[in-house]
Amino acid sequence: MTAAIEVRDLVIKRGKREVLHGLSCTVPQGSVTGLLGPSGSGKTTLMRAIVGVQKVTSGTVTVLGRPAGSAVLRGQVGYQTQAPSIYADLTVRENAHYFASLYKGLSKKDADAVVEAVGLGDHAGQLVADLSGGQKARASLACALIGRPRVLILDEPTVGQDPVLRDELWGRFRAAAADGTTVVVSSHVMDEAGRCDRLLLIRDGRLVADDTPAAIRAATGTNDLESAFLHLIRTGETGLAASARESA
């Protein structure tokens, strides 16, 4: 498998605080990679660096063989921010049509299909301001999916969704990956980790684990990913992260 995203020795300072301390990882093409870690661990900062909107202190981020944020990548990388970044004073449909218009060769029909796919078909004519939190998140997700990106960066896309919809959304991520799209999904809940092909666990701006869920379970001798991660964190981050990487 070729790498869609390659992060090398990434250091990012926001203000005086160093958020990422020399992080390196690779994300294989056509996979669903879970970016897990507690709130404030640097997940969003890493994602922002991958889409190229984050000022980088040192290190490199390469996406599809080009430096992150390159002009050519803008048509190929879809990004859903943690807070719904869509226009509250437009309807779901108007938002979708607008974001579709930013990409070449997309019609309004394509946009409507994506709105339907995230389960908002019945709410397409509603103002985003009048939607529930979960619906807003899905509308925002629809706008990230619209450009048919080759790399999809989703910051906590399933927060606040009901279990059935969450399952459907994961189905969509899996289908996108099967089509060759590289999907990176961040989450702070471990119950979603098992659905990923690979997991990146970060804590305090450092990589604690970078492996498949199965390998992490095996390395820590537990079946439950939550306890596996606890185990990894408690038994000294550096040593086990290194061994987890070696087994990969």
Binding site: G15, V53, R74, G75, P84, I86
Partner: protein, 245 residues
């Protein structure tokens, strides 16, 4: 820049405005009401009213569009839509010109209605063409938009953004020749007035009031206002950073 993206951005911004009925009502109704108030205030001195009303037709769109744009752009920044747009193929100029054109159109409609009321019901008379008044008002509105786009970069909250209005607007209002003729100002005040763009749009409106045909002063003034728009848009473009800390 792409005409497809620019076009859809203009439609999107006007669409947001269209959903906001109250803002539309305020945009269209407030200037005629204030002009009517002025006409009552200067009932006994109609000449004074003529001068002030004409100046006001240029000032309203500037002030209102400055405010609306700084808030709209601040919202783009705070809700994350700006960050998202900058990860798409959209160019910075698509966004800036989108705002300039969309709000410029809205301002032209506003100026058309305000001028219509002033000419038809409030006895406003100008030697020159009313169309020129509307054109100058629209240019002023676009100047307001451009400065609003720029200033929004320095505000983190709506509270701060509205505070830029007195900073940017009131000095121009005081020194443009509306309160004191520019000839009667102290030299250093005149010098400040010379570098403020509203001075030129007010002078241009005065030219339309006094002369039947567009004068060269009018064209120069309009050129200066357009030049200021270009400068403000360039500064605004410099504040749109794809990468933020």
């Amino acid at each position: 820049m792409s005409s497809r993206i620019l076009g859809s951005t203009i439609r999107r911004i006007l669409g947001q405005l269209r959903h906001d009925r109250r803002t539309i009502a305020l945009l269209l109704v407030v200037p005629p009401l204030l002009l009517t108030l002025l006409s009552f205030m200067f009932e006994d001195t109609p000449r004074t009213f003529q001068g002030i009303a004409l100046t006001m037709l240029g000032i309203f769109p500037f002030v209102i569009m400055f405010l609306i744009t700084s808030i709209a752009m601040l919202r783009e920044r705070t809700t994350g839509t700006l960050e998202r747009l900058l990860t798409t193929p959209m160019g910075k100029l698509d966004l800036l010109f989108g705002y300039g054109i969309a709000f410029g159109v809205a301002a032209a409609v506003q100026a058309g209605i305000a001028s219509g009321v002033a000419y038809l019901f409030l006895d406003l008379q100008t030697q020159g063409n009313a169309g020129l008044v509307i054109a100058i008002a629209a240019a002023n509105a676009v100047l307001g938009v451009a400065l609003g786009l720029f200033c929004s970069a320095f505000a983190r909250t709506e509270f701060q953004a509205v505070q830029f209005m007195p900073v940017v607007v009131i000095p121009q209002l005081l020194l443009c020749g509306l309160f004191v003729d520019r000839e009667n100002m102290a030299g250093w005040l005149q010098a400040i007035s010379n570098v403020l763009p509203m001075t030129y749009s007010v002078e241009a409106l005065g030219e339309v009031g006094r002369h039947a045909d567009p004068t060269s002063t009018l064209w120069t003034d309009l050129g200066i206002v357009v030049g200021c728009v270009v400068v403000a848009l360039t500064l605004a473009a410099a504040t749109l950073r794809r990468r933020t800390p």
